[in-house]
Symmetry: C2
Subunit: 140 residues, 2 copies
């Protein structure tokens, strides 16, 4: 067992398993509740900032997709912003090729644009999601 | 060999794989440009989503504060949301005690509330900042 002893580290440990080095990453946020509706596969959604209309008009949440899990085609009335934090995923807009996503990538999804996002077949994936302009409506 | 000796470090682990040293970062985003105005100490700000009024009405950015660095007292016309991603920091609203922050903490700062945020004296600190409602104005 090889370990980083610093409690503030985010990428925190490496373990020797069956002769192979394995590295894992700590998530920033605790895993949220299981969400199956509107997903192909299993995702976990943790609400970070619930919608407060008239104050922030903005909802923020963390989504953890199990490998192969993605959401259905959908749109947002006020647009959506994704901040990729872990793993490998994909984003696709209607009529375009899917875009590969990894940690540090940012996706801007304009209002009313049909799209989906989720994990690669062989990797989990996490992103922070930001839904601004909630006074304009929600997810369709 | 794995090591992380510094609670404020960005390079988080080093592993010897096939005779080569490999270094990886625990930060999600690349460090942005140095910002000294409006800060006591040195901070680095990376813009993730520039303001697009009429589309997202929302600005998103990553801030890395060196140990002891904080910003001046200020307000946001549309409020501000902080997602803490690394290290130890503080947040204070006028007339209240400072609140200690660590990875995974979320701060909701209502419009017009005077406040500051920054790193602890002996730890660097990073947060994602979200400024919604940019159509209502900026930072004062």
């Amino acid at each position: 067992m090889i370990a980083c002893h610093d409690s503030s580290c985010q990428v925190i440990y490496v373990s020797r398993m069956k002769g192979m080095l394995r590295m894992e990453s700590n998530q920033i946020f605790e895993k949220g509740g299981k969400a199956s509706e509107n997903f192909t596969g299993t995702a976990y959604v943790k609400m970070l900032v619930p919608d407060k209309k008239g104050v922030y008009n903005c909802q923020v949440y963390d989504v953890f997709f199990e490998p192969g899990c993605r959401n259905d085609w959908h749109t947002h009335e006020g647009g959506q912003l994704l901040l990729c934090t872990h793993g490998i995923g994909y984003y696709q807009e209607e009529g375009k090729l899917a875009r590969r996503l990894e940690k540090g990538d940012v996706v801007e999804i304009p209002p009313h644009v049909e799209h989906w996002h989720g994990a690669a077949p062989n990797s989990a994936f996490s992103h922070i999601g930001i839904s601004p302009n909630t006074q304009k409506g929600g997810t369709q």
